[in-house]
Symmetry: C2
Subunit: 150 residues, 2 copies
DNA sequence: TTGAATGCAAAGGATTTGCAAGCCC
DNA sequence: GGGCTTGCAAATCCTTTGCATTCAA
């Protein structure tokens, strides 16, 4: 955790950004909840627990910055607000989204690497990251009659 | 094209929605531009060419409906508005997105089916569709110095 | 010290909503 | 004819911006 914060501090410095106390607080919340993704509002509320004076605009401005620096990335789930989470290098981390109850199942998988390599070669594309969303019905909802779509 | 429109008409009827002239116009534009994805504004402008009296809210309301019925789906590209396009059954259709120039390269691939099948089994998830976005640098931008991130 | 970063509040802009009028089935 | 749809315009709400103040380096 100290490691990660130091690493992000470095990256900010290298790109001529300062590690303000607000940035430190935002990163701390993200680091302490690596497995979670936050809406801006939720993140704002968490950071306020550490620093009650932080402004919402600061959260927006810094998430934008962190995404630009590849410290965080944005997740978009249809019919919902944007969410953000830390990028972790060795994490192949994707989502199964239930079209009925909107449940989000997270999973990790290494098998896409091969596929990705071939793709990078075929399209001469320098691959940095990928986001994959699978839509369908979770096991709770597979027999439900609520689903539209007859 | 008649086929597709009739099919969508059926699906609307089966779910107790009417095929209004506005819905027909919207679907017609989408069908005639299957390979394109539209922002709401762009779609609005196209539909106005057919029916100048259509309202913007109608476009929003119907795209929401069409997505709910799995006639269209929403594409989200970071730092941009939402886009929409028709869903075509047999299309495995994904995007490579350049992080420098924002170029979007579309590609089709069948290789993910196997992966997807395993996943569906592992998580007892009834898979309907998947969207995959790869981020990186296109060949024009690979040697550019503009990229941040030192 | 000094330009970058923040907080606040106001502005912006995409999307949604209320309601009377219109239209599909 | 009846109720779903539409058009219009106003409202909503997430996000951005301007500006004076504060702060990291």
């Amino acid at each position: 955790m100290q490691n990660l914060l130091a690493e992000y501090h470095d990256k900010l410095s290298r790109n001529n950004y300062k590690l303000t106390s607000q940035r430190k607080d935002i990163l701390t919340v993200l680091i302490n909840n690596k497995e979670q993704h936050f809406s801006v509002e939720d993140l704002y509320n968490e950071v306020k627990k550490i620093n009650p004076n932080v402004g919402l605009a600061t959260i927006y401005r810094n998430l934008e910055l962190f995404c630009r620096l590849n410290i965080t990335h944005m997740l978009e789930f249809e019919s919902d607000y944007k969410h953000y989470e830390l990028i972790s290098e060795d994490d192949h981390h994707h989502h199964l989204i239930c079209m009925n109850c909107d449940k989000i199942i997270e999973f990790n998988d290494e098998d896409l690497i091969e596929f990705e390599d071939r793709l990078a070669k075929d399209y001469d594309f320098d691959m940095v990251k990928h986001y994959i969303k699978f839509y369908g019905y979770c096991n709770d909802c597979q027999n439900s009659d609520d689903k539209e779509l007859k």
